[in-house]
Symmetry: C2
DNA sequence: TATTCAGTTATACACCATGTATAATCTCCT
DNA sequence: AGGAGATTATACATGGTGTATAACTGAATA
């Protein structure tokens, strides 16, 4: 019960420095080309700490990965968001967003691959990743709100956000790049795709649609 | 050195039956909702054999998964390919292809998620999956060759196959569906996206899309 | 019937990774 | 000096992959 005047805040920065060191080490290990070489032991060694310290900071592998992703998304992927809003029209803003994300995906391609990998196998991380992907969705919605949606898109208005979200996802850049190109090199192509979706005149008359599917 | 006239072919079907039983069991385990619950032990138990038998047939987990994917792709995903070519034009063929793939992704959503998961972590399986994805690409190329490419697509001719390939990938259906919809429900939307990409009149003049500039 | 061989099983083992528990140690602040 | 919080060292349980080896089974053959 006795009030204890103790640091607890003073040493916080030291502890946080340790945390950040671990997070950075984890990101580095994830970005190594060695496929499937992610272990808490490797992270700890690279961070210069013990595996136990990692468990003290984060309780599990999933939480650690979640925080790594969190940090990267907030600090790297969407750091240029303000400049996106400086564009003069919707097309320009989306172009800027594509460039921003393309750069991020390029810098962290291996990391992203492993991240979606373990996310597909770890329910906890899966939830975190899903939530973090909402970040991108909210960014798209903000852009549309600011610049106004196009009048005649090739897709439903209600599905416009979904469509852009898919086209801006890592998977789009990754599989479009394939083994021979980088996500960054693919940026112009993604821009064209989006422009095609946005600028296409509406096809309101489904009278002609030649579909015979099943 | 004595020539030994022995079955070796007669019992083949029995052995192959065992193989198929294991493959089916593996697919079942992969399609369980239990995220990250895939072990060779579970597969063996469900197949009614020992873990050793699994190792006798396939040498490793990666190879087994590769063959499962192989079987599914060939037998389920692209089994309806002939009917796709019965369509009367390009749009109809692609619509049919979208429906075919959407059905497959819907039937095997959990499996696909886990598959890309381990593929992101296992180099061997990664290669297999990459090669199997070429199956889809070749299908697209065949359709374009049969029905002719659109005259004025919204994307480069050279990138047309890449674009369609991305739009037809599992990731498109999966992230478009999100947690609240199924890949199958998303089929009409993907069809519209593709029609938008294909049917949009060429925009040769990059004079900026006619849009409200705030 | 006895043999023979492929495939299967039973069993044991090595290895690695995650996660938990506990006591010892270090560091910095008062 | 003393103490609290963080870190370390160490051990352990668990579960999965992959390898090795000997025993077993069943069916075709002689």
């Amino acid at each position: 019960m006795t009030p204890r005047p103790y640091p607890k805040q003073d040493r916080k920065h030291v502890v946080d420095a340790g945390r950040d060191k671990i997070l950075a080490a984890a990101a580095e290990v994830l970005n190594l080309d060695d496929l499937g070489a992610f272990s808490l032991d490797a992270v700890a060694r690279r961070a210069g700490v013990t595996r136990m310290t990692v468990y003290n900071h984060f309780g599990s592998k999933g939480v650690l990965l979640g925080e790594v992703f969190d940090l990267l998304v907030e600090r790297d992927a969407f750091s240029g968001m303000p400049t996106v809003f400086e564009a003069k029209d919707l097309g320009g803003a989306l172009d800027a967003l594509v460039g921003m994300l393309g750069r991020f995906y390029d810098d962290n391609r291996q990391l992203m691959l492993k991240m979606v990998g373990v996310a597909g196998l770890d329910p906890d991380l899966d939830k975190v990743l899903l939530e973090k992907n909402l970040r991108r969705r909210r960014g798209i919605e903000a852009i549309l709100a600011q610049f106004g949606a196009p009048k005649s898109p090739a897709v439903d208005r209600s599905e416009l956000v979904n469509t852009l979200d898919v086209l801006l996802s890592f998977h789009t850049f990754n599989s479009l790049a394939g083994p021979d190109r980088t996500p960054l090199e693919v940026v112009p192509h993604v821009r064209r795709m989006i422009r095609g979706i946005l600028g296409a005149p509406a096809k309101p008359t489904p009278k002609r649609t030649p579909k015979r599917a099943r």
